[in-house]
């Protein structure tokens, strides 16, 4: 009789410990997921900040860049697309990357217009754009760091067991844009 009680108590204790560990691990994963989501929201905020700069930039550049209408139209179209409500995270990322490329083309085009480069208003806008780009890069790196922590929790044993049971899925990383990947000084983009 005593042996049976001992076995039951032992099993119950083990189950209780497992349950406590499961709850703890699940809470930790939720915390990490929230941190990653919060970091992603930060990326969204800086994307928005960048989109807000674009109308002014296009308006200021338009009168000088008669032959580069295509570039300006592309930038404006991408901005309008990004303004649409209910965009998924993936769509936001894709649009953000397209905008990176479009702005890069714009900056290259600016090089052909010395008058434009010397315009004070354009210079201010470029400085503001540089700042947002750098902040966006910082937000993107923060998200990737948070996503990595979360993904480690989801994919590494033993917390992966709880992640499987509760249904946590790994998050995708945000690709570094050209400037971050190549570690190029942003200064060179404008003052080559």
């Amino acid at each position: 009789m005593n042996t049976t009680v001992t076995i039951i108590v032992t099993i119950a204790s083990i189950l209780l410990l497992l349950l406590m560990w499961g709850v703890r691990t699940s809470n930790k994963l939720i915390r990490l997921r929230n941190q990653a989501d919060n970091a992603f929201a930060g990326v969204g905020a800086y994307l928005k900040k960048r989109y807000d700069l674009i109308p002014n930039l296009v308006a200021a550049a338009q009168e000088y860049m008669g032959h580069e209408k295509e570039v300006l139209t592309k930038v404006t179209a991408l901005r309008s697309e990004a303004e649409k409500p209910n965009l998924s995270n993936e769509e936001q990322i894709v649009l953000g990357n397209k905008m990176n490329d479009a702005l890069r083309s714009f900056q290259v085009a600016v090089e052909n217009y010395p008058q434009l480069k010397a315009d004070t208003h354009i210079m201010q806008l470029q400085a503001a754009l540089n700042e947002v780009e750098e902040q966006l890069s910082a937000a993107r790196r923060t998200y990737n760091a948070a996503a990595m922590k979360y993904n480690n929790g989801v994919q590494l044993f033993p917390s992966s067991i709880i992640a499987g049971i509760v249904g946590f899925r790994p998050k995708s990383y945000l690709d570094a844009v050209g400037a971050e990947r190549d570690n190029v000084d942003v200064k060179n983009l404008f003052r080559r």
Binding site: A39, G42, Q124, Q126, A127, A128, N130, E131, E134, Q135, S137, A138, A139, R141, T142, N144, A145, E180, N183, D185, V186, K187, F190, R191
Partner: protein, 336 residues
Amino acid sequence: MDSSINFDAFYNRELLPLLTEADRLRRQTRAKNRGISLKYFVITAVVIAVGFLINRIVYGTWVHDEKANVPLIIMVMAVSGLIFFCRKAIKKNKGSFVGQFKGDIIEKIVHFVDDNLSYDPYKMIPERDFLRSKLFRRKPDSYNGDDFVSGTVGKTYIEFSEVHAKYLIQDQDEDGNSRDRWEKLFDGLIFKADFNKHFNGEYFIFTEKPSRPSRLERLINREEDRLKEKIETEDREFNRQFYVYGTDQVEARYILSASFMRRLLDFKQKTDKKIRLSFIGSAIYVAIPYKRNLFEPRYRSSVVDKEDTAEFYYDLRTVIDIVKELDLNTRIWSKQ
């Protein structure tokens, strides 16, 4: 061109005549101080002799075993006063030589490195800036320094000086008697510059793990943890060599761009010192510890020494070049 070649030419052309003149002053100062020492030595000897003589006249013995020996007490006080005045006179003469040396030689070297910089051998980075930098957990109880350099390098305003900061500790022995003891907080150079990006939070970079107040200390001493959050960057080498703390994860990464982290790694390797950095109120503060006293001329041997003078030059370059090393002149963001 190699800066050492430039310096060699500058040394031979401009500094050598000044150093020769400074050495003449050094020899004169030493001779003057030897004269002062001799004069005070003779006066002290006479005072001692007179003290004993009067004691013998008054009490009939050189030293009376039971009485107060008033003439001897007065004599000891007079000797203490003489030693004090002698040391003061010697220090004043030596200080005058050092001041002149720094005004002539160090100032010349500062202008050689960058003509826009000004030098004051007697000023220092104010204590309020030292405190504002929050580079050290403790507040100093004694703060002094010298060799203040300020001015604009390219587009960046900089200030730095040598700083000696200490704090007081009260020890208690077995009998419960307390005794004061001075502990070093920091000896070296404190550098402050206008940072090229806007930021709102406070950020810290250390090469050694800094001490932080425990929960209990925070509760009892009401000490705030100035370092806030630990920040792990994506650069593994940087994480291995630096400890980063600050208010906001995103803003910290905004300051610590990939290229800035590489530059800091290079700077650390170049200085080979336990540097500390903080980013507070739109400024960057850098603390570079030194064990030796900086920019001080020799006193007992000749100052006409190329190696010593080159050391002044390279010490100055190390700090002034922070602007270049950390690329602080790049102003492509909204802060111009």
